[in-house]
């Protein structure tokens, strides 16, 4: 069975050669903080965040001018039982800002898309609600449109931003 990140990636469509989309890959299996052994921390935190950093470095060395990181919203909201995965998600969202600040002078723009946690198989009934209000929209959401736009020339002056795609939960 493909990972949630693979599935999300397959739904984003082709991007121009000078663009790179990095989909953060996290486990959907909850683990309480008290149960996080060293092996678990390595698996749930260290490996996924190092992968993001490596992919960012690779995008830079490959000459990409538009980089988009798709990350789960739980980094911003926190999630019970998913502290390690939330750490990855938020670290990925913020390293985007560092990259944007550092590489902006070279004409490289870097942005983040925070995707609703359900796309990553994370259940709000376990992790806790993202917002005090119900989701504004009822339809399924897709990050394809915003990712395609961020990879295009039209978004060339936008960098270091986070675009939330969750049907209007987190506002």
């Amino acid at each position: 069975m493909p990972s949630h990140a693979t599935t999300i990636n397959s739904q984003l469509g082709d991007v121009p050669s000078q663009a790179r989309v990095i989909v953060v890959d996290i486990s959907d299996i909850p683990s309480l903080a008290v149960d996080l052994t060293d092996d678990k921390i390595q698996e749930l935190w260290e490996q996924p965040i190092q992968k993001v950093i490596t992919e960012l470095q690779d995008a830079h060395s490959s000459g990409c001018k538009r980089i988009v990181v798709v990350t789960p919203l739980i980094g911003m909201s926190g999630a019970a039982g998913y502290s390690a995965q939330a750490a990855v998600a938020e670290a990925a969202r913020i390293v985007v800002k560092s990259a944007a600040r550092q590489w902006g002078k070279d004409g490289i723009v870097v942005n983040a898309v925070a995707l609703e946690s359900a796309a990553y198989g994370i259940d709000e009934s376990v992790a806790g609600p993202v917002s005090i209000a119900p989701r504004a929209m009822t339809n399924e959401v897709s990050a394809k449109g915003i990712v395609q736009w961020l990879c295009s020339e039209a978004a060339g002056d936008v960098t270091g931003q986070t675009f939330i795609v969750d049907g209007g939960s987190w506002m």
């Binding site: 260290e46 830079h60 980094g75 039982g81 750490a87 670290a91 913020i94 560092s98």
Partner: protein
């Protein structure tokens, strides 16, 4: 009221561990908690830095001890917590402040890998080590609380963990991770009355003093961009925020980050 000379009882009978308490922000927090009656364990990597701070707290009438601790090692953090509880019978407040490896680097240079490992270990892994070692004792603290009191986990992050940094690019995600951990644990532990919060300080740490020495214009630049016009004091400014989060006054506050930087960063 001048809080630097105030001594009180807001944390009387509570036991606190502060990591990285041998200098800088950790030292300021340890001093302030000690001033309010907490028994303070200074978890420092070197006794040469931790013990003198403990001595100054004791000299002022407080209760403080240094336990040499390497926060990058889970066993070491566990031993610190176990020894604290063995000596004092409880642990109510865990403050994780220690951090190493934040030196200027480019995100795309290979040599930053070693720095990342240090930042990840002392920042993020250590949050998990502190959380899992302290948890049963914070639970117990909440059980014996009077309704307002309870276990407290306080993580020291940074404004850079919110806004990113061109200069120390990977410092920011490490500090951002700490904020996400705080929010997650606030949800996870909230039903048990344990609060988890972050402080994002800008204060006169030894690291900042070195940076000012290397670049004298930096101090003027920071003061100029800060509405309150100065760099924070580790005890009076930052320690007092930690005191609030450690005390009963903050019993309904959890999952939050208090940016304590004189108003320099207003993006939350």
């Amino acid at each position: 009221m001048d809080v630097t000379t105030h001594t009180g009882t807001r944390l009387q009978d509570r036991v606190a561990i502060v990591t990285g308490a041998g200098q800088g922000v950790g030292e300021g927090i340890a001093r302030r908690l000690g001033e309010e009656g907490a028994t303070v364990i200074l978890a420092a990597r070197r006794a040469e830095t931790g013990e003198p701070v403990a001595e100054t707290i004791r000299a002022a009438g407080g209760i403080a001890e240094c336990i040499v601790t390497d926060v990058a090692k889970g066993d070491s953090v566990q031993q610190c917590v176990d020894e604290t509880v063995r000596r004092h019978g409880r642990l109510d407040i865990m403050v994780h402040n220690a951090f190493s490896g934040a030196v200027p680097h480019l995100l795309h240079e290979a040599t930053m890998e070693k720095n990342w490992k240090l930042m990840s270990k002392t920042g993020v892994w250590a949050c998990f080590f502190c959380a899992r070692a302290a948890y049963p004792h914070l639970q117990e603290s909440s059980r014996r609380g009077t309704g307002l009191g309870g276990g407290r986990l306080i993580l020291i992050t940074s404004p850079s963990g919110v806004e990113g940094s061109a200069n120390i690019a990977l410092y920011s995600p490490a500090k951002a991770a700490e904020r996400a951990i705080a929010k997650s644990l606030a949800r996870e532990w909230g039903p048990e009355g344990i609060t988890v919060n972050c402080i994002a300080p800008v204060a006169g740490s030894p690291a900042l003093a070195i940076a000012f020495e290397r670049n004298p214009a930096l101090k003027d630049a920071i003061e100029a961009r800060t509405p309150l016009g100065r760099v924070g004091d580790i005890t009076k400014d930052i320690g007092s925020v930690a005191l609030f989060l450690a005390s009963d006054d903050s019993s309904y506050v959890t999952g939050q980050t208090i940016v304590c930087d004189g108003g320099s960063f207003l993006g939350l």
